[in-house]
Amino acid sequence: KETFEGHQVLRITALNEAQINLLKELSENEHLGLDFWMDPVDVSLPVDVRVPFNSLQDVRAFLGYHEIHYEIMIQDLQDLINEEQREILQSKALQ
C-alpha cells in the first residue's frame, strides 16, 4: 500500500506570468515526483502541489530562490489519510 508520510501539499500563489512559467518548469522535473492538484495556469488561480518528503527541500529552495509565495496547505498528507480511515472505521463500528 502506498503511503504518504511526510508528503506536504503546498498552496503556491504566483504573482505574475514569470512565476507561472517558473512553476511550469518545476512541474516538468519528473524526478521530484510532484503531483499537481491544481496546475500553474494563471495568477488568478492558486497552485496546489503534493510534494513527496524527499523533494521538499528542493522545492522549497526553488520557491525561496525565486521569491514565490507559498503556504503549507497540508502538513502531512498521511496524517490526514489516517484520520479519514479512522473516521470511516469508527462510523462503521457505530453502525
Partner: protein, 308 residues
C-alpha cells in the same frame, strides 16, 4: 444494511458498499429506478448507471460522478443525489415535473477500477488502471480521452503524467461505454460531469478559445446555478468556459458531449478550496451534496423549460 435508509450518507464508502446501495435502491423502487450496465471497466467491473424513469421514450438528463477516482466527495455526493431523487419524487413539485418529462441517468462511480485502487492501494490515484504498452506507468486520464480536440494542448502524451490522454480517443472502456450509451440513446438533453475540488462550474470549450455557439445562454444558466448553490452555505464558485476559467484541456468530456449536440453540457468542481484538497472530511459530504443539488436542479429545470 437492510435498506438505503440505513446507509450512512455522511461517510465515505467502498465500491462494494456503493454497488450494494445501488442494488438496494433499485429493489426499493420497482418501476421507477433501474440499473443499467453500460459496459465493463478494464479490470472487468460493471459500469453501473441508475436510471430514474416514470415513462417510456423520454429524453434523458445525464449526471456522472467520480471519473477521477481520488475525488471521493464526488462519488459520495452522487450517492446522496440518488437517494434525494427517490425521496423528492412526488414530494418536490419541480423534480416531479422534471421526472414526468425526462429520465435521469446517474453513474455514481465512473471509474470503478481507479476508485477501488484508491481504497486499497493508493488513496491519491486519479486515472484508469489500464497498462500502457512500452511504459511501466499505468492508466489514462479519462477526462483527456474523449474525441474532442484529442491530442491537442492541455493533455499529456506521456503515460506517466497524471493528464496522460491515452493512445487514442475512447481507448478507455470507461469512456467508450458512455460514448456508446449517449450515441445509442440519442436524446440526452443535458450532460453534467462532476469532479472536485476547486469550486467551479464550467461549460465548453476546453480545447479551443473559440466560444461555443450557446455560450451566452450557458453562461447565464451557470450564473443562475451558482447563485442557487451559494444560497445554502455561501460557498463561492467561479464559472465560465473551461479554457478561460481553469486551463486549456483537450479531449475533455463535456467538449465531446457538446459537439454531439447536447447543449446543456457542464462540468462541476465541488468543494474544497485551500484546506483539504481530495481529503475533504466526511462531515462535508452532505453539505457539499446539498448545495450541488440546488445547482443541478437549476440546470435540469432550465433544460426542461427550454426544450430543443
Amino acid at each position: 444494511l437492510r435498506s438505503t435508509e440505513d446507509y450512512n450518507y455522511a461517510n465515505y464508502h467502498t465500491l462494494n458498499e456503493i454497488n450494494s446501495f445501488i442494488d438496494m435502491l433499485v429493489q426499493e423502487n420497482p418501476g421507477f429506478v433501474s440499473k443499467i450496465v453500460i459496459g465493463k471497466s478494464y479490470e472487468g467491473r460493471p459500469l453501473n448507471v441508475l436510471k430514474f424513469s416514470t415513462g417510456a421514450n423520454r429524453p434523458g438528463l445525464w449526471i456522472d460522478t467520480g471519473i477521477h477516482s481520488r475525488e471521493w466527495v464526488t462519488q459520495a455526493s452522487g450517492t446522496w443525489f440518488a437517494k434525494k431523487i427517490v425521496t423528492d419524487y412526488r414530494r418536490d413539485a419541480e423534480l416531479t415535473d422534471i421526472l414526468n418529462k425526462y429520465d435521469i441517468f446517474l453513474e455514481i462511480v465512473t471509474n470503478p477500477d481507479g476508485f477501488q485502487f484508491t481504497h486499497t492501494t493508493n488513496r491519491m490515484w486519479r486515472k484508469t488502471r489500464k497498462p500502457n504498452s512500452g511504459s511501466s506507468c499505468i492508466g489514462v486520464d479519462p477526462n483527456r480521452n474523449w474525441d474532442a480536440g484529442f491530442g491537442g494542448a492541455g493533455a499529456s502524451s506521456t503515460p506517466c503524467s497524471e493528464t496522460y490522454r491515452g493512445p487514442s480517443a475512447n481507448s478507455e472502456p470507461e469512456v467508450k461505454a458512455i460514448v456508446d450509451f449517449v450515441k445509442s440513446h440519442g436524446k440526452i438533453k443535458a450532460f453534467v460531469s462532476i469532479h472536485s475540488y476547486s469550486q467551479m462550474l464550467l461549460y465548453p470549450y476546453g480545447y479551443t478559445q473559440t466560444p461555443c455557439k450557446d455560450q451566452a445562454e450557458l453562461h447565464e444558466l451557470a450564473r443562475k446555478a451558482v447563485t442557487a448553490l451559494s444560497s445554502l452555505y455561501n460557498t463561492q464558485y467561479r464559472f465560465g468556459s473551461i479554457i478561460n476559467t481553469i486551463y486549456q484541456a483537450s479531449g475533455g468530456t463535456i467538449d465531446w458531449t457538446y459537439n454531439q449536440g447536447i447543449k446543456y453540457s457542464y462540468t462541476f468542481e465541488l468543494r474544497d478550496t485551500g484546506r483539504y484538497g481530495f481529503i475533504l472530511p466526511a462531515n462535508q459530504i452532505i453539505p457539499t451534496a446539498q448545495e450541488t443539488w440546488l445547482a443541478l436542479m437549476a440546470i435540469m429545470k432550465h433544460t426542461k423549460d427550454n426544450p430543443y
